[in-house]
Each structure stands twice: as C-alpha cells, then as structure tokens.
Amino acid sequence: MLFNSWGYIFFLFIGFSLHWLLPHQFRIILLSAFSFIFYAMWRWDFCLLMIFSACVDFIAARQINAGDQIKIKKFWLWLSISINVGLLIFFKYSYFLYDNIQMIGSLANFKLPDLGFYIILPLGISFYTFQTISYTIDVYRAEIKPTNNFLAFLTYVTFWPQLVAGPILRANQVIPQLLKRRKFDTSDLGIGIERVLIGLFKKVVLADNIAFWVDKSFALDPVPFTAFDVWVSAILFGFQIYFDFSGYSDIAIGSARILGIKFPENFNWPYFSTSPADFWRRWHISLSSWLRDYIYIPTITFLGSKNPSYGAIDQKNRLRNISLMWVFFICGLWHGAGWTFIVWGLMHGLLIFLYRRIKSLQLINKEKPLISWCVTFCFVMLAWIPFRSSSLAQTYILFSKILNPLQYTISNREVNGYCYIITLAVFSGMAISYYLNSIDNQTIVFQKLFPYTKILKVACMVFAVLVYLRPIRQFIYFQF
C-alpha cells in the first residue's frame, strides 16, 4: 500500500481506532494483522517470504542464545545471515549478476542460456532483511536477549509504518515498545498527525511536482547540456529524493507515533551538513548506523585481527580506508542492482576519504562553516548524478560537462527554464525553514505576533495535500 493515497489514510484511521479500542493483549495481534493486510495490498504471496525470513531469524536467535559453544552460535549466525543475504541476492541481484556474467562471457564468445523465469522484487526486502540480520547479530553479540514471543518478533519485522522503506529499526528499539502497555496520549496523537501531514506534503506537493521536471531533464539527450544544466538537474534530483524519502520517513514516524510507538529520526537536515561524514550522520540515519555497526566496524576488526601490525597508525588508517570503501560499495549496491549505484556509493566513500585526509592536514577551518557547507553541498549534489542516470555512459557525459570550464555558458540552455526557478525557490524555502528551525521557537518574533502559526501551517498543508494527493508515483526507495 502506498502512503500517498486515500486508501492509506483510511487504513491508518481504522488501525488507529481499533488499536486504542482493543485491550492491550490484543493490540499486538491487530498490529501484526494490519501489517500483513498493508503488504497484501501489493501482493499477498510475498507475505509468506517475510514469515519465512522472520521464522529463520527467530529460531536462529534462540539457538544462538541457547548454544553453549561458540561453534554452535557461529553456525546459527551464519545460517541466518546466509539465508537472508541469499534471498536478497536471488530476488534483487540475479539479473544484475546474470547481465554482468553475460557481458564478460560475450568477450569470449560465450553466451549464457536465458534465465527462463521472471523474478519480481519483493517490496521492502532490503529493509526487512537488514532488520532481521541486525536482530540475529545483536543476539550473537549478547547485546540483546532473544524474544520468546514470536508474534512480537513478527510484528517487529513486518510493522507496516517501516515495512517497505524503513527506517531500519533495531529489535531493542521496537519490541519492548510493542510489549509495553501503552496508554493513549493526545500529545502523541497531535505529534503523529502533524508528522504524517508534513510527510504527505513533502511527498505529494514537493517531491512529485519536482519529479516531473527531473524526469524531463534526465530524459533529454545530455550531449547539448551546459554545465549549469547538469548542476540544476542534479540539485533538483537531490531535492526530489530528499523530499520523497524524508517524506516517507515522516509518515512512518508519524503513523507509529499515533499508535504510541516512537521511532528514531531518519533525517536531520542533510543538505546543511558541513562535511561528507556529517552528511551521513544526517541522511538515512538508520541505514548509515546499520552499515557502521554491522559492516564497517566488523570489517576493521576482521582485517585488524588478520594483520599483526594493526597497532601502527598508518596501518590502522589503511584498514579504516579499506573498510570505508567496502562499506560504501555495499551501500551503493544496497540501493540498487546497477553500476551507477555502486559509483554513487564509491563516490561518497571517496569524499569521506578525501575529507579525512584534508582534515588530518588541518586544511579545514572550522570557523568558516559556510565554505565547508558549500563544498559539501556541491559534492553531495554531484554524487546524485550517477544515482539518477540511466547508464554509466550518461553519467560520464554529465560529469564531463561539469569538469569542462568551457561548458559554463549561459546561452544554449537545454534544460527547461522552470527547473532553474524551482531549484532556486526550493532551496530558498529549505534555507528559511532550516533557519527558523535552528533558532529557539520562543524567540521568533513572528510567533509571538501570530500565536496561531501552527493552525495556519496545518491548514496550508491540508489544503495542498488535498489538492495533490494522488498515488501517481511510488516512493523512490520502494525500489530498493
């Protein structure tokens, strides 16, 4: 089910009403049932895959906890990881692997037989797979105790607000809340409704309308583009994906909050970061922290343990850098089965690597955050080019425009003039919102002058959502 639809608003209203009407012991059953209904609105048969995945991890975690030998614990851990990653590879990366093997084979005049079957990518598989993996690893590391309540675990895996596009939650963030006797709180309701509204506004008013221009720009032949055309297209896509994904996260957080469950934040003004590392602390926070905890740190530990000279500073930095590139390779690949996504991931890895180098040489002046922000903003936006491009060839052409000083001409503009105006307008709007958000609300003069700002804000958002709410376009992150 798409969040940006009347169907979802109706679904949420029914879910909310029944949830608070039912006694505590039935709520978890309701949440689980509603989560499956939510998913079945797309396809019911893939619900079985989720149940299978949940069963594997539930059993594995219990075996790990019960096992008294490290060998047994390891066996169950690797069994769980292999099954989860195996499913992910099969459903998400089969075509990618096939195409690449085919391409390499064609060099040696070797042709692979047709796959012979059609694979449908199950919605949200990348998200719930990472979630279940984190559960088993946390149990293995003895950071959490496995739950004995299968229904609670199943609800954690399938809980509809975060099912198809995150945030990627840890078991200890959700299961205790699901089991806790929650009391209805009007402030939770208020906060939840407001977040859902903000999310819908970001998605249906901003992201979907920007998408129209982004699609037009990226569908054009890039050869006649000027460098400014490339910049505008990249920045506009950067805004689109931010509003799209952060809008989704807002609706997820708001929906859970209405049910009395608190989700951690997934975005924190990422386009106002002052370094590439800062960007990843503010963008898709749940994924970046997942990658840090389950790939980056274990990779450093693993490589370090294999290397006797781990203690030396240079060696330590080398391992950090290898891990960094590896984690961003995975990050790119997680986002999509294509080389353009891998290039995007590696570009971010390279940016952080360069940032660390420059920082270590003390070339960054922390007292001038505006320059740091400007450089970070430009690089992050440029990195969206491969992410949005349809091929590496398109990426190459677009980057060659950016790098060629002769392409910085204001005549022969190819991208529609509206794109320039919208980019400027959206950026100004974001900057003003960021400024208002960063200062203490109580000190804002106009808030004192207009105590009913909230009413006006909500009314405007409701008006805009009523005008634009149409399930015409799914969330970008659904495809991941």
């Binding site: 798409l2 402030s187 208020g190 009413i455 409701v462």
Partner: protein, 369 residues
C-alpha cells in the same frame, strides 16, 4: 500539549474549508484555454448527439469509440483526424462557430457522402502523442478508413507522452512492436514506466478507485481537484511567463533540436506503418500558418526543409498522401497571443471553415467511397 492537538485539528478543519471553498470557486475554470492566446477558447463538437472531438481524456475517448462503433454498424466510412490545439480552439469564439471537423462533416454530408470525421487533439501534442491517439482506436480493433495527421512543426520540440493518453492505451503487443519500428518502442517504454509507478491491478487500486469515487460524491469541491491543480499551475506559470517575456521583450525563435525532430518523426512513421498494415490510408498535412509580414516564427529554412523531406518521403509511399495547407487561411482570421504577439496556431471560425472544406475536398477526390 493538549492545546497543540486542538490547534492541529483546527488547522485540519480550516484546510478542508479553504479547499472546498476554493474548489467551488474555480469550478468554472477552463485550464485548456490557458496558453491558447488572447480570446482563443476550446470548443467541443457533437454530431447526431455524439461527441466528435476529444482531448486526452479516457471518458471522452470512450464516447468517441462508441460513436465509431455506431458508424461502422451503419456502414459509414471513418476518417480519424489527429492533431494539436489548432483543431479544437477557436479565436473570438461566438455562438454558432464550428470546428474544422464539424465543417468537414457538413461538407461530406452536403455531397451525400457516407464519410464521417472524428477528431482527437491535444494542446502541443507531439507526434508520439498522436501515435497514442491512433493506438487508442487500433488496439480496440477500431480501424478507421483514413487517418489524417496534422504535423505541427512547433510541436516537434515537445517530448514525453501525456499520462492521460498513456492511460487510454493498453500494453503494446509484440506484433505492434515488431512492425511498428522505433516510434512504437518509445510509446511502449513510456507505458511500461507508467505502469511500474502506479498500482495497476492491485487490491489497493480497487480500494483507491472506490474511495476516490466516494469522495467525489460526498466531499464538496473534491471533484474539482484537477481544476484547482491546473489553476495553481496556471497562476504560477502564467505569472512567470509574463514576467520572463516582459524582461526579454522580444520573441525568441523556438529552437527545435535534431534529436527531438527525429524522436517525433519516428513516431509518425510508426503510425504510418501501423495504419497501412491495418489497411488504412493516411493523409499527412502541413497545417495552416499565418503569413504575417516580418520574421517567420521559426527558422524558415529549417521549417521548409523539414516539410520538403516529409513530402518527398511520402510521395514514395503507397496509400499515404501529403497536403500543403500552409497558406489557405488568410491573415485576418488569425488571433493574438496573450503577450500581444501574433498567434501562429489558432484562427477564427472562418479558418476552421476553410480547413474543414479543404480536407473534405481532398477526401472527395481520393477517398474510395
């Protein structure tokens, strides 16, 4: 905190009231008139109580398809006339004014011909969209005897396909893909893209359709949402266009890039191929254009070269005809744009009369009735 909740509910209530009121106000707004120029308006034409001209609207196209079936059952020959806004807009529209399609039908009736013209048009329709218009009929096995296509040079710079039109067609069959060439592939790709991003054939789609129709009948103003969207866009774009033109003061010669010319012309050849394979004749015409003194709106050389190339290719084809109608409508019957520049695309009733008669005159000579 409780105050916060009340503020939110009050805000929601206010938002709904504002929306309903505004939607009721804009109920009479005609978005199709925007961009047509000063005093130029859209007209809808009927014949025997049936709609004979439609835009990219599923319901309208279904209505025309019904008339198509009715005509076939009564042994009429059918000419499907496809084009851009010139076909459905009239400058200085008055009571009793008619569209070219109506004049063509009148002319056919006067000569006791069993030929009926049906028209599908869309503002700034590019040739890929015109191909889609044809597919709306061909996919339903509604094969016209003639397909008439107005090739508007200015619209060769338009790309993409209107989603409303894509919603009117079905998945392109492998047969069509095989015979249709590059143009049909573009339509197939766009259709696939659209079907991927929507909820086609899922339970969610059914619920959404039900809720949407329920809201249309129970929520005041909801049915005018599309008009509210158009009004907002019109206000935004209109004010921007106005200020941009004020700054520039001069009219820019629209540049039509080679790849877009090719992209659209390929669609035309796909249409010709499919129409011919279905046994239809095709008439492609160069539409009327005012002969104002002063510089031509496009690069004249490129304009002429494009149509010359089209003509020479068509002349080598069987059952495909070319007609040059550039100079048939005298200058005094053309309108003005909102910025005061001459409107090169829309004319008054007399222009429609001339065009309709001219097309029917051609048909009376060439159509095997």
């Amino acid at each position: 905190m409780k105050k916060n909740v009340y503020h939110i509910f009050l805000g929601i209530f206010c938002g709904i009231i504002i929306f309903s009121s505004y939607a009721t106000i804009v109920a009479g707004f005609k978005p199709e008139n925007f961009g047509l120029g000063k005093n130029t308006h859209v007209k809808t034409a009927y014949q025997n109580g049936y709609l004979v001209n439609a835009g990219p609207n599923k319901n309208h196209i279904i209505a025309i398809q019904k008339y198509f079936t009715f005509l076939r059952q009564n042994n009429f020959k059918i000419a499907l006339w496809l084009g851009a806004s010139q076909l459905h807009a009239i400058n200085h529209l008055k009571d009793g004014d008619m569209l070219a399609v109506e004049y063509a039908n009148l002319s056919a009736k006067n000569r006791a011909s069993k030929l009926e013209y049906l028209q599908i048009s869309q503002g700034n329709a590019n040739l890929n969209e015109i191909l889609c218009m044809y597919l709306c009929f061909a996919q339903k096995k509604l094969i016209p005897d003639w397909v008439i296509v107005a090739v508007v040079y200015d619209d060769l710079r338009e790309e993409g396909i209107n989603n409303d039109l894509l919603h009117c067609i079905e998945k392109i069959s492998p047969d069509m893909l095989y015979y249709g060439g590059y143009g049909i592939q573009t339509v197939a790709d766009e259709w696939e893209q659209l079907s991927k991003t929507s909820m086609v054939e899922t339970p969610h789609e059914k619920i959404e359709t039900y809720l949407d129709s329920w809201l249309q009948s129970h929520f005041p103003g909801y049915r005018h949402r599309g008009l509210v969207r158009s009004k907002i866009h019109t206000l935004f774009r209109g004010s921007l266009l106005h200020s941009m033109k004020k700054i520039m003061k001069v009219r820019r010669v629209p540049e039509i890039r080679g790849h877009l010319k090719q992209y659209n012309t390929e669609a035309l050849w796909s249409l010709v191929t499919l129409a011919k394979s279905n046994g239809s004749n095709v008439l492609i015409y160069k539409p009327p254009h005012p002969q104002y003194p002063g510089p031509f709106i496009h690069n004249r050389q490129a304009y002429d070269a494009y149509f010359e190339k089209l003509k020479s290719k068509i002349n080598n084809m069987e059952d495909v005809y070319y007609l040059d109608l550039e100079k048939i409508v005298p200058t005094q019957f053309w309108g003005l744009m909102n910025d005061g520049f001459p409107d090169c695309y829309h004319f008054q009733d007399t222009g429609h009369k001339i065009l309709g008669k001219q097309i029917d005159a051609f048909m009376s000579e060439f159509a095997k009735e």
